[in-house]
Symmetry: C2
Subunit: 365 residues, 2 copies
DNA sequence: TGCCGCGTCGGTACCGTTTCCAGTCTTTGG
DNA sequence: CCAAAGACTGGAAACGGTACCGACGCGGCA
C-alpha cells in the first residue's frame, strides 16, 4: 500500500508566520483567499461568504463593497475548502472498463451532459478491463469524496470489487451490469434479448443452421444475456440449429482467436454473431486473412452500430441500442438519488436488430 | 464572468438536515475521521498523522496501536482535507475537444497510464468542440485546484480561452496545439508535415493531378500544418497539380458536406485526403451514396489509422502517428514540471505515411 | 418610554488534515 | 550526579471556507 505521501513531498518549504504581512507587494500574485477579500473590503469574512453564496441578509452596500474587492483581487473560491466544509463535492466518479471503446465514449458523453446541467462534474477513471483496477478506482473516488459513482465494471463477480462497492456510502449506479439487491445500487441496463433474438431468428429464417456466437465475458450482463437469448431461440425453433458459443473477453484478441478457431473448424458455421465492436474487428481480420468474404462465405452480425459496421462492404447487420441514452439514464438515476432522494431502481433500455446485407440467405432459401 | 456559483445554482434546495444529528442510526456508519482513530487508540491526532505519513518519530508501540485502530475503524484519509492542507491535489485536469473520437481516447489512455504511475490521477472534461466550454472547463479545474492541466483545445485562437489559460497558475501542457510562448505552456505535438508530404507525393507519383484535402479547423495546429504541407509539395513538384482545400471542422458533418461538394464538381478530383477519422466517415458515406468506389473511382487517404481504414475494402492508406505515445509524452512533460521543476518545452513526434490499395494509379502510370 | 422584532453584521466553532513547537521521559556524557 | 541530548508525544495553529449565534441599531407599537 503506497504511503499517503505523494512523490517529492519534501519541497514544501513553508515559511508561514507573519499572518497578515502588511507589506504584501502587488507582484506576489498567489491566489487570493476570502480572508484577503474581507480585509480589502474591510468587512468580516462571514459577510464575504454571505454575499458570495447569495444569502439574503446582505445590504446592497455590503454586496457592492465585497464584489468590488472580489473583482479587484480576482478572487475565486476554493472548491476544496468548500467541499470539505459543505460535505459535498458536486462531483461524481465514473469508472469505465475501456475508454478506447467508442461505445463507452458515447455513454460518457450522455452522462456528462446530464450531470453538467445539474451542476455536477465528472471524474473519469479507466480500468483497462482489469478488475483489480476497478476496486482501486472505486476506493480512490471514495477517498476523493465524490458524491456518487457510475460504474461500468470489468467484472460483476470479482469479490474484491464487490467488497469495495459495498462500503461506498454515496449512491452508486451501474451501467449494463447487475448487482445483488443488497448493494442498493441503481442500474441502467439494456435488455439485450430482443435484439439478439431477432438476429438469431433472422439468420435461421435465412437458412442458417450452424451459427457461432463470439462474445465477451459472462461475468458481465451483456455477455450472459446474449448467450441466454441465443440459447432460447435455438431451443424453441423447430429447425435443428447447431450453436457454438465462444465467450471470452470483449477484446480484439479474443475476437481473432475465437474467429480463427471457429472458422478453422469443419464444417464451419455459416453465420457468426460478434458480440461487440472489438470482437467484430478481430473477426474481420481473420476473415480477410483466410480470404473469406462477408455474406458470400459467412454471414455476419455485430453488436452495436459503429462506423465500421455501417460503412463496411457489405454493410454489417447490427444489434443496436441507444448508448448516449444509456449514459443519460444512468446520470439521471444518480441525480435523482443525489438531489431527489430517490430509491435505487433499475431502468431498462431496449435493443433492436437492424438487418443488413452482411446476412445472406443460404442456397434454397 | 460567470458568478462564483456553478451552473444551475438555483437548485440547491439546502434543507440542511439537523447538522449533527446525534441519533444517527447505527447502520449509518458515517466514515471515520482521524479524530476517531486517535480517540480509539487513545493517542493524539498528530500521532496518528505521523504514523500514517511515515514520519520517523514514532515508536513501534505507537505504530501498532494506531494501525489496529485504523483497521478496526476502516479508516481512510480524506483526500480533500489532505489536499487543502498540503496545497496539492495530486490530480491533473484534462480538457479534450471530443471524447468520442477514438484518437482522443488513445491519447487519454497514454496520459493516464503515465500519470497514474506517478501518483497523479486524471480528471477529464469534454468540451464537445465548443471553445466556450474549453474556457469554462479550465476555470473549473482551476477552482478544483488541480496541480496541472493537459489541454486539447477546440480552438487555439479563442481569446476568452486564452485569457483563462493565461491565469492558470500550475503547469499547462497542450496537445497537438501551439500557444504563444508567453503562456509558458509545454506542448506535445505531432509534425504533420512528413506524413502529409509523403502522401501527396505518393498520389502525384501515381498520376493524380486533381487532389482535394478535406480537413478540420485551421484554428488548430493539425489543420494548419496539413494544409501547409500539401501546399508545399504542390508548389515544388514540376507537375501541374490542381489542389482543392476544404477546411472546416473535424466532424462527420463537414466530411459529408465537403465530400458532396467536391465530388459533385466537374471535373472531380481523382484523389481525396481526409484529414481525420470523422472526416473519413463523412466522405465514405457520400461516396457510397453517389455509387463511387474507393480506388476505382477516387483514391483515398485518411489521417490516423482506425479499424475502419484498416478493414475497409480496399484498405485505406493512412497518415499515422503514435497517439498513445502522444498522450504519454504530454503526461511526462507535465510530470517533469510538477516534480522535476523542468522548464516548459515542446516535444515533437513524427507522422508517417502508410500506402494501401485505396490509392490507385491513374491510367498511364 | 420601554420593549420587541427585524434587518444586518461580526465572531467563532467547525470540516479533516499536516506540521511546528513545546513539552516529558530516557539515556548518555562529563 | 547533573545537565544536555535524544526519542517520542501532545497541543494547537494553520489550510480556506460555511453557518450558527449573538450583538447592534432602529423603527413601531403599547
Amino acid at each position: 500500500m503506497a504511503g499517503p505521501n505523494g512523490p517529492g513531498g519534501e519541497a514544501l518549504a513553508r515559511g508561514d508566520r507573519g499572518a497578515t504581512s502588511p507589506e504584501a507587494n502587488g507582484s506576489a500574485r498567489s491566489r487570493a483567499s476570502m480572508r484577503e477579500v474581507a480585509d480589502l473590503a474591510d468587512v468580516a469574512i462571514s459577510s464575504v461568504s454571505r454575499v458570495l453564496s447569495g444569502h439574503p441578509d446582505v445590504s446592497a452596500q455590503m454586496r457592492e463593497r465585497v464584489l468590488t474587492a472580489v473583482a479587484r483581487l480576482d478572487y475565486e473560491p476554493d472548491f476544496l475548502a468548500q467541499s470539505l466544509r459543505r460535505g459535498q463535492t458536486l462531483s461524481v466518479g465514473f469508472v469505465l472498463a475501456d475508454i478506447s471503446n467508442p461505445l463507452m465514449a458515447d455513454i460518457v458523453l450522455g452522462a456528462e451532459a446530464v450531470l453538467r446541467s445539474a451542476g455536477y462534474s465528472l471524474l473519469l477513471m479507466n480500468s483497462e478491463n482489469d478488475a483489480g483496477l476497478d476496486a482501486a478506482h472505486v476506493r480512490f473516488f471514495q477517498s476523493r469524496r465524490v458524491d456518487g459513482m457510475i460504474l461500468s465494471l470489468a467484472s460483476e463477480t470479482n469479490v474484491a470489487t464487490l467488497d469495495t462497492i459495498a462500503q461506498v456510502d454515496g449512491p452508486v449506479v451501474v451501467i449494463d451490469r447487475e448487482l445483488p439487491a443488497r448493494f442498493g445500487a441503481s442500474a441502467a441496463v439494456n435488455d439485450h434479448r430482443p435484439g439478439m433474438e431477432a438476429a438469431v431468428e433472422h439468420l435461421i429464417d435465412l437458412g442458417h443452421r450452424r451459427i457461432a456466437l463470439i462474445t465477451g465475458s459472462t461475468a458481465q450482463l451483456p455477455g450472459r444475456e446474449r448467450m441466454e437469448a441465443m440459447r432460447a431461440v435455438v431451443a424453441r425453433r423447430p429447425e435443428a440449429v447447431e450453436a457454438v458459443y465462444l465467450p471470452g473477453s470483449f477484446s480484439t484478441d479474443h475476437g481473432e482467436a475465437a474467429a480463427r478457431q471457429v472458422l478453422g473448424s469443419d464444417p464451419r458455421p455459416t453465420a457468426i454473431i460478434a458480440g461487440g465492436n472489438q470482437l467484430l474487428i478481430g473477426c474481420l481480420r481473420v476473415m480477410r486473412e483466410l480470404g473469406l468474404k462477408v455474406a458470400r462465405d459467412v454471414s455476419l452480425v455485430t453488436c452495436d452500430d459503429v462506423p465500421l459496421s455501417e460503412l463496411y462492404e457489405p454493410p454489417i447487420a447490427s444489434i443496436d441500442r441507444d448508448t448516449v441514452g444509456l449514459g443519460r439514464v444512468a446520470a439521471e438515476l444518480l441525480i435523482g438519488r443525489l438531489v431527489g432522494g430517490d430509491e435505487p431502481r433499475t431502468e431498462v433500455l431496449a435493443t433492436t436488430f437492424s438487418p443488413r446485407p452482411s446476412c445472406a440467405p443460404l442456397p434454397g432459401h
